[in-house]
């Protein structure tokens, strides 16, 4: 065992935190809010250690030999991952807000004790996936996150639908990881090692098959067409906070680990770019078409998540196919804003569910008058996702748009047309939902008791912060673009 412990420190903090918090909370019988506060502290500690690595990236990148673990063909090597750091910083900030939200959101769930440790485990697993250079290790961490995420999805196990969703996620995700395991087998047959610190010197047919297996596995986890069918069932029925985390951050981050593995296994950048761009079109179209007319908020947001996966794939695809740095910047920026907006939308819909016991927009007509602040924030989230100017989503779309046009190539322009069609169709989805909050129908469907605006601050604070981010990134994107350019400078995709 040798190398820099700093690499694994965030994961260690998160994992240890998960067990300590569970034990302490169990023994001291702490209440939900206190446990949420503990969890926030643990994540803040992990965040600080990540940020300290992130700011010293120029120094770290100059020492590529730095690693943690055991070298050699069977060893476990963990190295710095610039993209991983960026994604984890975004993920942890979002998860801290989700945890604060859960401080109230879970107040009626007796099983809150396991909820927070599970969240910490998914975060630790996600970080581990990025720093792993050993594919078997990557597989194990992938399984860890899958199991923890399944438990979170089926968290309200007294509801049959939640169990079904958790079960579906477990089956589908395990299928994905099984395919990856198959890939590992092929790689081992071809290479005699599961280490993947750099691009294979002489990729043969077997390693290409291994790459295809990983491509399939990650695509399934990211919800890429035609492996997207589980997305609405799972995110549509999981607790809103978890759906926000998984749909906004977790499944999207798979799109950033996918190229790292596949390219090292011998897939060419052109092949990867073609795959991403071609399938992005399906995702964009299917996501936006299917969300039309869906009144169940979480299900609606899940369909829109499929479209957003398409936007990210499109950006990344351009980057690989045309070797365009601008497209990578656009994708990273898009990842950041989608994570924020998606999470905002899921959390706001969670507030409706929490107080009114429904997430059916038809029944929630006029709810905006009862909860004006939440409705405003939800509207900001939806408008941001729709790409309305001066909100974060518009800048993201503008950047992807610019990247696609900068190529001047027919293939990217054709995909851009699909992107535009998807945006227009998406408007037809987002706007009715947004507007229904404010407009009551002729028949009184307001079958919920009025709250007179009394919404818990635990719910309001995270939602307000996320809305503030959506607006501030939209109005002043400069520092955020600088941030993704900084990541771009040091990352190697």
């Amino acid at each position: 065992m040798s190398g820099s412990f700093e690499i694994v420190l965030p994961a260690v903090i998160l994992m240890t935190g998960a067990f300590v918090i569970y034990l302490v909370s169990r023994i001291l019988a702490v209440n939900n809010r206190l446990e949420a506060v503990f969890t926030v502290f643990v994540m803040a500690a992990a965040l600080i250690s990540l940020i300290s690595q992130f700011v010293s990236l120029p120094g770290l990148v100059s020492k590529p030999e730095d690693y943690f673990g055991i070298s050699g063909p069977d060893g476990i090597v963990l190295t710095y991952s610039t993209v991983g750091m960026f994604i984890m910083i975004v993920s942890l900030i979002i998860t801290i807000l989700i945890t604060i939200f859960s401080g109230e959101y879970l107040s009626r769930d007796p099983r809150y004790l396991v909820y927070y440790p599970l969240i910490l485990l998914t975060q630790a697993g996600l970080y581990g996936i990025f720093i792993s250079n050993n594919l078997f290790n990557l597989f194990l961490l992938m399984e860890l996150t899958t199991v923890a995420a399944s438990a979170l999805i089926a968290f309200r196990f007294q509801q049959e639908i939640a169990i079904k969703a958790g079960y579906k996620y477990l089956i589908m995700s395990s299928l994905g990881t099984m395919v990856m395991l198959l890939g590992i087998y092929f790689l081992f047959r071809s290479n005699g090692s599961m280490q993947l610190t750099q691009v294979l010197a002489s990729p043969d047919r077997l390693s290409k098959v291994a790459a295809a297996c990983f491509l399939l596995g990650f695509s399934l986890k990211a919800g890429v067409f035609p492996l997207h069918t589980w997305v609405p069932d799972v995110y549509g029925n999981a607790p809103s906070a978890i759906s926000g985390l998984l749909a906004g951050v977790f499944s999207k981050s798979m799109l950033f680990i996918l190229p790292v593995v596949c390219l090292r296994l011998g897939m060419t950048r052109g092949e990867l770019g073609t795959y991403l761009m071609a399938f992005a079109c399906f995702n964009m179209l299917i996501g936006s078409i299917r969300m039309l007319g869906v009144d169940q908020l979480r299900r609606f947001l899940s369909y829109s998540a499929i479209a957003q996966t398409g936007y990210l794939m499109f950006g990344l695809g351009i980057g690989f196919y045309y070797d365009l740095d601008q497209a990578f910047s656009a994708s990273l920026f898009m990842f950041l804003v989608i994570a924020i907006m998606k999470c905002l939308a899921f959390l706001a819909s969670g507030v409706y569910q929490f107080y009114y016991g429904t997430q059916d927009m038809e029944k929630l007509r006029g709810a905006g008058r009862d909860m004006p602040w939440i409705a405003l924030c939800f509207s900001i989230g939806l408008a941001g996702l729709a790409g309305i100017p001066l909100l974060a989503g518009f800048t993201g779309k503008w950047m992807i748009f610019s990247a696609a046009l900068a190529t001047g190539d027919l293939f990217s322009i054709l995909c851009l047309v699909i992107f535009l069609i998807s945006t227009v169709i998406g408007l037809g989805g987002y706007l009715p939902v947004l507007v229904k909050q404010y407009i009551s129908s002729a028949e009184p469907t307001l079958n919920f008791p009025s709250l007179n605006g009394k919404v818990s601050m635990w719910l309001i604070i995270p939602i307000t912060l996320l809305s503030f981010l959506v607006i501030s990134i939209g109005v002043f994107p400069t520092p955020w673009i600088d941030l993704v350019n900084y990541v771009m400078r040091w990352m190697s995709l």
């Binding site: 800048t395 046009l405 227009v424 507007v435 400069t478 600088d482």
Partner: protein, 491 residues
């Protein structure tokens, strides 16, 4: 930075302050909210007038500071002769609508939000005319749309307002996206969003790209102009919107499409590449002119009659632009201004008729002439105005548009047909006026007097229309200077 450059930002920032005050002052009565709205909008009228002397000296006043520097985007506003014409038209229309609004019921509840949105709507339009950066232009362009959609959604009439607002948003947004495609293509090719620089670099683009961009720009902006068959959003949106919003939509917002066509394809690309579209624009203008007029003739709802007349009038403007001659385009710009005044006047008259009779079906209204003589006179002048009767303004602009058509060298026959087609305007105008103000008095119960709060602004606009028609000098000069500064080589 000179003081007058800072003043330009006031045209957008002061109404924005008004919006913020209104949003904070939630308990403002309608009168209080209107006062804030009118005062802050007033600045948008006064500032450009104050700057006239500087504009005469410099030709253009620019306010600029860096915004998204790593993407080459800045907050850049430019007041020039072209934007001045559109800006003044739009601000005057908004002020009229705000004052007119005091005499009717819209916005009695949530007055602060109502006036804040009217201000935002106007801010979107002022920003669109002033923006000299494509990113900024698009933001203001969309702000205009969002504010108007919200106004229709919240204060629109009837249960259909939801569907209508959605249709309005999606159709016009489609047009906006076509414009966005062009803006980003130019942004990517030139590496800057500065619209003035685009004018200098455009010839470096391949001709095919130029042709495609011109096509997209023209179609995209034609949606906003409601040119047939892209007008489908207009009749419903104009009918469902409350009257003050309809006035702004018809009299001011439609003209933004014209501004867009002049400011982008016409100003950026060389005239010889634009010439490919001359015939098609003129044909589209002619079809729109005749179709709008025929639909206005067939409609029974008095609000829809005037709404369809907008489709027809925008046809003239497109025809004028399509002529690609100095006279035709100058006529088109003047038509924008005159149409704004006449259309505001006609909708104001319709508003009074609907208020006093509570009826919108033209077959159920009649004989109002002697009961409301002042309204009758205003309507008569409005109808004569839209029919192109001298000395009212539209006569001047139509004269120039047709002259441009004859000069264009495209097809004399086309211009003759368009000229003859204008007869339909006279027919629907006379039908409108005759059925409402003459014949048997209908409906049986109606208000004794037309509300003064509505009649006075209507009368004021009527007088303004007459003055503008008699004194077209300044407008003509501004339009000429604006055109020649943006488009070179016009005959």
């Amino acid at each position: 930075m000179e003081n007058y450059e800072l003043l330009i930002s006031g045209i957008t920032l002061i109404p924005l302050v008004g919006v913020l005050v209104l949003l904070i002052w939630r308990k403002a009565t309608k009168n209080q909210a209107a006062t804030i709205g009118i005062i802050s909008e007033g600045f948008a009228l006064v500032i450009p007038l104050l700057l006239l002397s500087v504009l005469k000296r410099n030709g253009e006043i620019v306010f600029s500071f860096p915004w998204i520097s790593n993407m080459g985007i800045s907050f850049r506003l430019s007041l020039n002769w072209l934007s001045l014409v559109f800006l003044l038209t739009e601000v005057l229309v908004t002020l009229t609508a705000m004052i007119y609004s005091l005499g009717e019921k819209t916005g009695e509840k949530n007055s602060n939000a109502y006036y804040a949105l009217l201000l935002l709507f106007s801010l979107g339009m002022s920003g669109t005319t002033l923006a000299d950066d494509a990113f900024l232009f698009y933001i203001f362009w969309e702000l205009m749309l969002i504010a108007s959609v919200l106004l229709i959604l919240i204060w629109g009439h009837g249960e259909t307002r939801f569907r209508v607002a959605l249709k309005y948003f999606i159709v016009t947004h489609l047009g906006s996206l076509m414009v966005l495609v062009c803006l980003i293509t130019l942004f990517v090719n030139f590496g800057t969003a500065n619209m003035t620089e685009w004018m200098l670099q455009s010839s470096s683009l391949p001709i095919n790209t130029q042709i495609l961009l011109i096509l997209f720009f023209i179609i995209g902006f034609s949606v906003k102009m409601a040119i047939f068959p892209l007008h489908i959003w207009l009749p419903d949106a104009h009918t469902v919107a409350p009257m003050p919003v309809t006035i702004i939509l018809a009299a001011a917002m439609l003209s933004m499409g014209t501004y867009g066509i002049i400011r982008f394809p016409f100003a950026i690309f060389p005239l010889e590449n634009l010439q490919h579209f001359a015939l098609w624009m003129m044909i589209a203008g002619l079809i729109s002119e005749v179709y709008g007029a025929l639909m206005a003739l067939a409609e029974k709802d008095i609000k829809r009659i005037i709404a369809f007349s907008s489709v027809s009038q925008m046809g003239y403007i497109l025809f004028g632009l399509g002529s690609m001659t100095l006279r035709g385009m100058e006529g088109a710009i003047m038509h924008v201004v005159y149409h704004a005044i006449v259309k505001a006047l006609l909708f104001m008259v319709v508003g009074i008729i609907v208020t006093v009779t509570s009826e919108r079906d033209i077959q159920k209204i009649g004989g109002l002439g002697f009961k409301y003589p002042i309204v009758c006179v205003c309507a008569a002048i409005g109808i004569l105005g839209i029919s192109g009767m001298p000395p009212l303004g539209i006569f001047n602009s139509e004269w120039m548009i047709f002259a441009g058509g004859f000069d264009s060298g495209v097809s004399v026959a086309l211009t003759v047909i368009t000229l003859v087609g204008s007869l339909f305007t006279v027919i629907y105008g006379l039908r409108f006026f005759g059925s409402i103000f003459f014949g048997k008095r209908m409906p049986e119960s109606m208000a004794e007097r037309a509300p003064l709060a509505l009649t006075i602004p209507t009368l004021a606009v009527t007088i303004f229309l007459i003055i503008e028609g008699l004194l077209p000098g300044p407008l003509l000069t501004w339009a000429m200077r604006g055109l020649t500064s943006f488009i070179g080589g016009l005959r």
